[in-house]
Amino acid sequence: MRYVGKPLPRLEDYHLLYGQARYVDDIELPGMLYAGFVRSPYAHARVRRVDASEALSMPGVVAVFTPQSGKPFDFAPGGKVRYQGEAVAMVVAVDRYALYDALEKVYVDYEPLPAVVDPVKAMEPGAPLVDESLGTNVSRREKYASGDAERALASSDKVVEEELVTNRVVPSAMEPHGVLASHDGKTLLIYDSTQKPHIVRREVARSLDVPLAAVRVIQPDVGGGFGSKIQVYPEEVRVAAAAMALRRPVKWIATRSEDFKMTTYGRGLMLRYKAGFTRDGVLKAIKGEVIADAGAYDWFGFDLAATAATMLPAAYKVRDLDIDAVSVLTNKPPLGPYRGAGRPEATFFIERIMDLIADETGLDPVEVRRRNLVPAGPYDNPLGLHYDSGEYLATFERGIAATGYYDLVRNAEAEKARGRVLGVGMSFYIEITTYGHEVAIVRAERDGSFTVAVGIAPHGQGDATGIAQLVADELQVPIERVRVVWGDTDAVPDGIGTDGSRSITAGGSAALLAARRLLEELKKAAEELLGGPATYSDGTFKSGDKSVTIGEVVEAVYRGKVRAQLEAMEVYKARATFPYGVGVVVVELDPETGLARPLLYRSYDDIGVVVNPLLVEGQIHGGALQGISQVLYEQVVYDQDGNLATPNFAFYHVPKATEAPRYEPRLAETPHRSDHPTGTKGVGEAPTVASAAAAIKALEDAIRRATGKRVRLRSTPVTPEEVYRLIHG
């Protein structure tokens, strides 16, 4: 009856397939009102006056909150808006249609200001200031250095200087942001499309100055997040504040176009660097800066730059490094985490550098990586990260074999002879997952079934199934006797939530340890009942020739016959762990149009213990498409004045089924356990980390095969126009 390792179909599915799903917009409360936000048409403007009088006189309008309403309606801080779409007022009305009518009738007097859009220009003296109080647009700069990069550069055979860019992308969860709040005079109840219900609870309680105990946050079904639902947005707090002020339930559901204006954007990092290497292809040094296009508020920009900076050396031997992490304010929506948050960018940068070394030395890209890889972990990365376990070099070699990389290259050559242009790209990645504490409670029910409550907040990953597998194994009971509940701050007092590929590792370990402790308690009770030392297996305690089932023990405790705890709570403090592996992408290029289509994604990943291969496969498929799509399809465009030219799915291209590759992931046959009780390392972000670097190389390879020209691609996305120009120009 071992469940861990089995491809168990998800326990979550029935609910989602049979009309029981409830996303926040599906929830209705009696007397519910609809909220919406008036948003700035300018990227940068002084707000002179907000006139809500006409809106307030419209039928069905209940309230309008403006900057004059005070905290938390302190729209336009410092008297100005700093990106197109920043909220300046909030309207509450009786239904959606009345709401949208009224939103048009709030008049705002703006004085437009010059905007700054490009982070490099934003750093120049004299650039318009996003936040005057800082006196500069550089919101934070920190150095991460080791060894002597200058000296190592000077002694290198070759030094290259250039810029690499991973442009902004829109996370694009299919369910837009939304929140519904109500207050019954005692408790503030919030349904929120979030990845972090407990963090929302703390933030709302803090901002509105109410006791934590008086706030309950429920994460209903959530239609994806990918990092965009990590940030607690001001909207979430304001909807809760409106519900309290009006004493009626208030719901806000972002339209998609609104979502594009207020969601956190992902990526948006640039590396300006010099790299030195030997003629044998050994990387000696990198000196440079990772610049985050943080947007109007530095919510997460610096964290992204710092993560990318510290992960830049990956598992390569280079130890002479000098990297500044810099976050720069621009007149754009704030940058936030997006699937991988800093690691896809770091991998993109360092793998581009490996490919550059291959091009410059004429060595095979596999050989270059082989010469630079640290053989095995544990390994202390020179910028202070401790890589826990792994055989980087051997797994890389196995990955090259397992993905059939050379066969794919040979096949691309053969297809060329038949007039078909294919390109093959490969990347090695190592990434960091899991941080912070996580909380779980396991409760014994009177019949020997168990309820597990977790602080992680899955929203599509299927973690509840994985945790049920872990707990059922630990308690040695059929999985049908284990139910996992999540997404309700009443069920478990704290937790961080779901992000950073940490849910099974941190949340699963918490659940597993709580189950273990509960079992110890029940064993003591069983021994008291049996009158001697007992052994436990498959739901039964035995002592000599006497036995008692786990359900009978629990029943005896509930009746007060023996004393024991029936609930165990674990607060598990997690440390970082480091999954790694190889990703390979094949693209097909139409040289006539410059249009490339991904055909195949293969990978070989060491992600530690695999709890449920089906869930892992699902994460790899979806994650790989996001990384590939960042290179081939997804383009965010702003004009010089900070107008977003790609404000919805009509302009911003999320790939369709006809634009997705086949995925053939394989998992390492000798995985390296993490030191967490689950032994897992996490996989949600790994495919996104691996695939972008491989996809851009595949495109380069295809262009070379089509034209014989060796081109170098430095920035994502690579548009068909750009490819066309490279081929025909």
Partner: protein, 148 residues
């Protein structure tokens, strides 16, 4: 305006404002929540329903335009719909589930017209519905297996 529509086999007669979108009529007036809203541009397909057998985006139609028609949503149950749901479950063809109603209806319409589609036809058939989670392969596999 008074309209009459048959939804999942049941006739409903209701007064609607002429400007009300079909998707809001289904969700807010009839309480059929499985029809979802993912965009306001007709691009995501989350709101897909079958209108007289054809997949349409219910955010792109007014409720009054559906007067007299027959609508099927993901809550509809027949042998084919059940087969599809089972296949989606077995092949792990859904993650967050937000696109799933649209996917089920697009594939239902596809298999009604073409009981044995090729992989290309399947991908074409569901290309009006965006999924950000699955990378599509398992959805394609599920539809293939439901077609057998």
């Amino acid at each position: 305006m008074r309209i009459k529509v048959k939804v999942n086999g049941v006739w409903y007669e209701r007064d609607v404002e002429p400007r009300k979108l079909l998707v809001h009529f289904l969700r807010d007036d009839l309480g059929i929540k499985s029809v979802r809203v993912g965009c306001d541009t007709g691009n995501c397909g989350a709101c897909t329903v079958l209108l007289d057998g054809k997949p349409v985006k219910s955010c792109n139609l007014l409720a009054v335009q559906a007067d007299g028609s027959e609508i099927i949503t993901a809550d509809y149950s027949d042998e084919l719909m059940e087969r599809l749901k089972r296949a989606f479950h077995e092949r792990h063809a859904l993650q967050c589930g937000f696109c799933t109603s649209g996917m089920l209806l697009a594939s239902y319409a596809l298999l009604k017209n073409k009981p044995k589609p090729t992989e290309e036809e399947i991908r074409e058939g569901i290309s009006g519905v965006l999924c950000r989670c699955t990378g599509y392969q398992n959805i394609v596999e599920a539809i293939k297996s439901a077609a057998l």
